[in-house]
């Protein structure tokens, strides 16, 4: 199916400010390359280990080689002074290269580090993460209120969904999830039969994420 879009590139636009190209300050970051050359990551061999940032995986290195070739091709034909109206169809130049790139891009698992996910992606504000869909019945939420204060106190606030009153429990007096859950069940009057199965203990970590308590070791 053809997507018809009339697009034309303008002649050099006039800007209200002086064009300042600091590239001309004799500062060569990569020798022998024209403007808008290849990104720096490819040259950063010596620092690649120390450079790897802990959050995202940085730019996609997978399709790097292919992209280089395509870039130089594009460079030779970009920015003509005027262009007639272009009809843009699905057919793109360098089709084979495009297909390869698309394949690389669709395997987006490269960005996830150890299943931890990306920092700040998707871009939802912190408090929205706290909107949790009710899974089956009720869950007990444990809020650790240390925040910026000295956490010499080991008391945490425990709130049960559906019950407006929160209780405080001293975490240091428990050494296992079993004793903690038993105590909590007693505090909230949850009887044994339906208790164990339908309640989930979750806690709020520093980033504002609700996590299942059993997923992490007791410490």
């Amino acid at each position: 199916m053809e997507l018809q879009l009339g697009l034309s590139l303008p002649s050099t636009p006039i800007f209200p400010f002086k064009m300042l190209d600091l590239n001309s300050y004799g500062y060569e970051l990569r020798e022998g390359l024209g403007p808008f050359g290849i990104n720096v990551n490819n040259n950063c061999d010596s620092c690649s280990s120390s450079c790897s940032s802990s959050s995202s995986g940085g730019a996609d290195d997978g399709g790097g080689g292919t992209k280089k070739r395509r870039l130089l091709d594009e460079e030779n034909r970009i920015v003509p002074k005027t262009l007639p109206l272009l009809f843009w169809t699905n057919q793109r130049p360098n089709d084979e290269d495009e297909a390869k790139d698309v394949d690389d891009h669709s395997s987006s698992a490269i960005f996830k580090n150890d299943g931890e996910g990306l920092v700040g992606w998707p871009p939802v504000k912190a408090w929205r993460k706290k909107v949790r869909r009710r899974v089956g019945n009720v869950r007990a939420a444990v809020e650790n209120s240390c925040g910026g204060r000295a956490s010499s106190s080991t008391y945490v606030k425990v709130k049960m969904e559906g019950n407006a009153i929160a209780r405080k429990i001293d975490i240091s007096r428990h050494h296992s999830f079993e004793s903690l859950t038993t105590t909590l069940m007693r505090m909230f009057d949850i009887s044994d039969e339906n208790g164990e199965k339908s309640f989930k203990l979750t806690y709020l970590d520093r980033e504002g994420d609700w996590l299942l308590a059993e997923d992490v070791p007791w410490r």
Partner: protein, 581 residues
């Protein structure tokens, strides 16, 4: 100009000019207009608190009554700006406390506000009326208590989206019994479980001018009826938790209370909704213009029923539980809709949990002729859909699309979404704000640079192939003020080639890109009116080779020079940076 109106006449004329842009334009006409304007400017807006110093503002505008300040960059909302970066309001309060005892309004966004700052505000400004803290942090209920206790003329206290240390819910009781001037109260961000209901009810009862009341999650459903009956004049109301055991007496109480509010136009809150209680708001739905259901975890059928009762809706915030089917109903019921935000109910899930696709957005773009502002999270998109949306709705001013998985291609053709977004910028000539997502090459930036002439803010993530992309944007988007980029292969060349452009913008954020430390130093050296901040928690950037990319880069224009409150992980590149290293 020899012949001119007397100053008083000009001042009178200027008093009708409220917008900052117009005021700024007026002040540039000639020296005498500059002088007259600066003496009569009553509201000052500072889009970046580090672009200017408090003293400079005070020197230029000796008689303002209202100030608005913004601090951290927008990506701070998504945890991309490390804690401690900056944005402290205290120096501003300190300077203003001395210079403006008559200050009435303070509006802050993304700033660090301490209890000390709040106490200073309470102490220094006798006629203080409006405090709006949007996405701020650093204070506790103690600071709020100080405001409540001292600001006898307080009309507005709005804590939207703030992080507040809940030490005690009794801060509300610090409003004296004689205090009655409250018009607007937004405490929806407070987490405290021990809200003093009696204090709240008494406060609401005696403040007969109260028009806006947004409660926090801790206020239970059965308390709302009482509160509403005390304030039937409310125009905007936010519930607390909207859940309770289903009881007919509680329900009829609630329905009755809502019916008594004849002026209600806006509803929000709705945490933990029990669908059985939703019909209680039907009596007010026909007048509603704004509805925020973004915390309401109810399913499509209930949402559809609700939305069908609101023909005058102009603004809707909702979770993706509404699904395509719900959006179709929205499109046919709400012809006045201007703004739609659809949030993900399960943003971190790998698989879609709801049937919300590009079709919902297409339906709304077709059915709602006044739709101008969209924020839409979904899991798939096609160029075809985007082109259709653009053609349907050329009046978009804000278009923010977030396809949840980075680099997702057009699901029909497996192509990049360049053409789709290209259509958006081509058809929507008044587009001011755009957020991109999905698989995108340099071509989309070519379209943006060519067509998006009114674009003021652009957000980019996981897009582009090379510096050419960034160059298109910086060289083509004439109205660009804010550019924020993460995880894109943009390096030094485009940045250095368009250095002068950066002085015409408020700010540029680039994180996890390919800008080298050397380029940052060069920019800092050559552009004295830019603050070039390198944010890197790995350690000093000069401990790595110069051509190594920096982790995060924040560049903003400033006439105040480099700031002095930087934490250890922020370095500013100034004129000396070349020499020092």
């Amino acid at each position: 100009m020899a012949f001119s109106f007397p100053d008083e006449v000009l001042e009178h004329v200027f008093s009708f000019i409220q917008s900052d842009k117009d005021r700024n334009a007026v002040s540039m006409v000639c020296k005498s207009w500059y002088e007259i304007e600066r003496w009569c400017r009553r509201k000052v807006f500072v889009g970046n608190c580090y672009a200017v110093s408090p003293r400079m503002v005070i020197r230029r505008f000796p008689e303002f009554r209202s100030i608005e300040l913004k601090g951290k960059p927008h990506f701070a909302d998504f945890n991309l700006v490390p804690d401690g970066w900056g944005g402290y309001v205290f120096p501003w309060i300190e300077e203003m406390a001395g210079a403006y005892p008559w200050l009435e309004e303070i509006r802050l966004k993304r700033m660090v506000v301490t209890d000390e700052s709040l106490e200073l505000i309470a102490k220094s400004f006798k006629n203080f009326k409006v405090l709006v803290l949007s996405s701020c942090e650093g204070f506790s209920t103690d600071g709020l208590a100080a405001i409540a206790a001292s600001c006898k003329n307080l009309k507005e206290l709005d804590l939207r989206d703030c992080e507040v240390d809940d030490l005690s819910a009794h801060w509300l009781s610090h409003f004296p019994e004689t205090y009655t001037s409250l018009v607007s109260l937004n405490i929806s961000c407070l987490g405290s479980d021990e809200v003093s209901f009696s204090a709240l009810e008494r406060l609401v009862g005696r403040c007969t001018n109260l028009k806006t009341l947004r409660l926090n999650r801790a206020v239970p459903l059965d308390k709302i009826s009482n509160i509403l009956r005390h304030a039937p004049q409310l125009v905007e109301f936010g519930t607390g938790t909207y859940t309770a055991d289903v009881r007919p007496d509680v329900y009829s109480d609630l329905a009755g209370a809502f019916s008594s509010c004849k002026e209600l136009k806006s509803l929000s809150g709705f945490w933990d909704v029990v669908p059985d209680y939703l019909p209680a708001i039907y009596p007010v739905c026909s007048k509603l213009t704004s509805l925020n259901l973004s915390y309401a975890t109810i399913q499509s059928p209930d949402l559809i029923k609700l939305v069908s009762h609101c023909p005058n809706l102009q603004r809707l915030l909702v979770l993706d539980y509404i699904e395509d089917s719900g959006l179709e109903v929205l499109a046919s019921s709400c012809k006045d809709l201007q703004e739609l935000r659809v949030f993900p109910s399960d943003p971190f899930g790998a698989e879609p949990n709801v049937s919300l696709t590009e079709q919902g957005l297409v339906a709304v773009s077709l059915g709602c002729p006044k739709l101008q502002s969209v924020l839409y999270f979904c899991r798939r998109m096609s160029n075809e859909a985007l082109v259709t949306i653009a053609r349907n709705r050329p009046n978009f001013t804000r278009f923010r699309l977030c396809i949840i998985e980075p680099k997702t291609a057009d699901y029909l053709t497996l192509e990049p979404l360049d053409v789709g977004f290209g259509a958006i910028v081509q058809y929507c000539k008044d587009l001011k704000r755009l957020s991109l997502s999905g698989l995108l090459t340099d071509r989309v930036f070519e379209y943006i640079g060519t067509y998006a002439k009114k674009l003021e803010m652009l957000s980019v993530a996981f897009a582009g192939d090379s510096d050419l992309g960034l160059h298109h944007v910086l060289s083509g988007c004439e109205s660009l003020r804010k550019l924020e980029i993460r995880d894109c292969p943009f390096g030094d060349k485009a940045l250095l080639a368009n250095a002068a452009k950066l002085e015409t913008m408020r700010s540029l954020w680039m994180s996890s890109c390919a800008v080298s430390f050397a380029a940052c130093k060069l920019l800092g050296q050559k552009m004295p009116r830019l603050n070039v901040e390198v944010i890197d928690e790995r350690g000093p950037p000069d401990s790595r080779p110069e051509n190594c990319p920096v982790d995060k880069l924040y560049i903003y224009r400033s006439i105040a020079g480099p700031r002095c409150d930087m934490p250890p992980f922020v370095w500013t590149m100034d004129e000396d940076s070349g020499l020092r290293l």
